[in-house]
Amino acid sequence: MDPRLRLRDQRKHQFQQIVHHPYFGFVLLGGLMLFVQLIQSLGVAIPVSIMRAFGLTMIYIVIGLGFAILLGYAGLASLGTAGFVGIGTYALGYLTNARGFSVGMVVFYSVLGAIILGVVVGFISLRIEGMYLAIITLGLSEILNEIFKNAVTITNGTNGLLMPQLVFFGTYYTVSNETVFAAIAVVLVLMMFFTFNIIKSPTGRAMLAMKNSESAAQAMGVSVLKYRLLAFIIATVFALVGGILYMSYIRYTIPTTWSLAFSLNLLAAVIVGGSRSIWGIVLGSFMIFGLDLAVFQRIIVTPDRNAAIAAFIERFPEHQEALRTFFVNLQQSLPVITYILNGLLIILVVMFYPGGLYQLVLTIKTKLVTAWKNAVRKWKVRRYGQEV
């Protein structure tokens, strides 16, 4: 064989090994985000609101990953996520503003607190199951929300807590949004690695067994106590890390953000995307949070501010006034329309694709691959004649 050809084959093999590695996609996503941030810093005009949408969506993906382990693997429905994320934001805000704690210390204490909190909720989940658990965690979240509102000395009450600067090793620094964005991307990739390893390990399989049949899992030697506590601890740690990222990125937190609506949106993201796969979470978070933040909130159809619409109106001189008022009204009702579309999307996906949008993507991919293979085969038959 030609040595050059063999070398090429070897390279191809190596390349495929890298591409097919499970981490490749995660690193690619993180790298893409870093790249976007880099070119924005270098002067490419990417609007700030789009960058913010990406940043927030990444934070929600982190929170969603923890929630997916809880819901998709351990089968425990929780509506208390908002409260836990809120704790993360307030922990960073208070400890930085009032105490001057370094970020590392805050993360350490938060993880410690998250473990305690996760154990408490986990023990609750041993006695209460299913929908009941969802409502009880909702009650817990309401209690936390009351605390955010009323513990004024720590949380600054309903006015919200502002955190202008971060502390690193005893010194206050003003960290730019770009740096935090990059940090979020890195944390996201690490969290994805962590989640991937959890769900592909005996722990993930044990959780899945527990979800499908608790009694059967127990009979096979799976400790329900251990894995329920573990699932809640993981979800809480992810939520608190998400809260810390949120606070360092937005620098402001207010109790109304951490209400039932947030928990429900997160649940929607996980269910719509598909609770059993990491890419499903990414897709779902983008659908529920990212699309709204990055696309819908930016659509402008007012003729004065949108040249294409203005040109479109110019083409119908006799109906100009009517069209103009129509588009102005449309602009006003746009937020409402996105609301309705989001709701319809959730309903349709749950009704027709219970496995989530990721299942839809996989189906389409399989169909495309099959179609491509068929086309190639047909072409070969036409070119070289029928194989016998």
Partner: protein, 365 residues
Amino acid sequence: MFDTELFWRQFFLVLIASLGVFFLIDLLWLRKRPKRTEKQNRWINILIGLWILSLFWMFSGLITWYGVVITIADKILSFSSLALATTGIVLIFKTSITTNFAQGIVATFGVFFASVVITRAAAWGWSGWQLAMFGMVCGAIVSFLMGLAIDVFIIRKSKYITSVGKQMITMGLVLVVSGLIPVIYGIPTLSVPRLSYGDPILIPFGENMVSITPHAMWALVITVVLLGLLFSALRFTKWGLGVRATASNEIVAGMMGVNTRLITALSWAIAGALGGISAYLLAEGGSLSVGMMTATQVNGFLSGILGGFSSFLGPIVGAVLIPVLSALFFYVSSLWSNALVYGIILLIVLAKPLGLFGKKIAKKV
């Protein structure tokens, strides 16, 4: 007249002592039995009942019985509308095994319609009471139809989806309907009239008088009548038997010839109508908003949990307890009353996971 320090001393003593006693009994005695028998359950019930009564007794010592009674009288409107909303949630939980997040928003849709109808009907020369009643019935009918439509077009088609999935569907409905309300009814503020604008009704209590607004009195009457009708329907009619059969096992009920589709559809519709009336009562002459039922919704879930979703009467007890307790704890701390009540609910549910009146349903593995 309120001694906060005395309260905390008593409250924590009662709370911690009862918790300690309960979990001690639970760990040392109840857990060792092969399974919880009826008798043991009754003991737990009596303990928890005594505990709740002791809470009331404690408050009577702090703000006198008269204070307790006027607090309860003040909350009549809240707990009657909450009882209606909770019954709707429980009805749907029983027949479709899901927590219906759309209950509140469907009710809101109905009350918006009622407001529009009342403004139209104002020209017909009816008296205020007739107008309000007409509006309420119209709102309830719209909510009824909407509940029916939700079941026929969505829930029926998603029979084989998990209960969390159905919950997501109702959540999507919340988004859709709360988007539709401003589109259909427009942005301007709407309001519905009270059922009655008369003078407060005075009821003698010892030497003092307890005053109740006529609107609240009407709300109580309507709630009692409606729930009485519903419960007698559940107990004595064929539909009620069907609901109970469907609640216990849908597939077997279907095999036995129960028309489960009709039963489920009617349950959704009736739940919608109950929600519509509850929203009308709760609006209390004020202006309407899209999020007006959110708090009632959350409290409805919690009272369902507190009373036990497996019974019909339990959630109503929960629905009465939650507003009353939070009003009583308001004397203790205006800021923390809700958090305290939620905490108490959490503790009670931990002690009795199926709720105060819940029954354990045996499940095959």
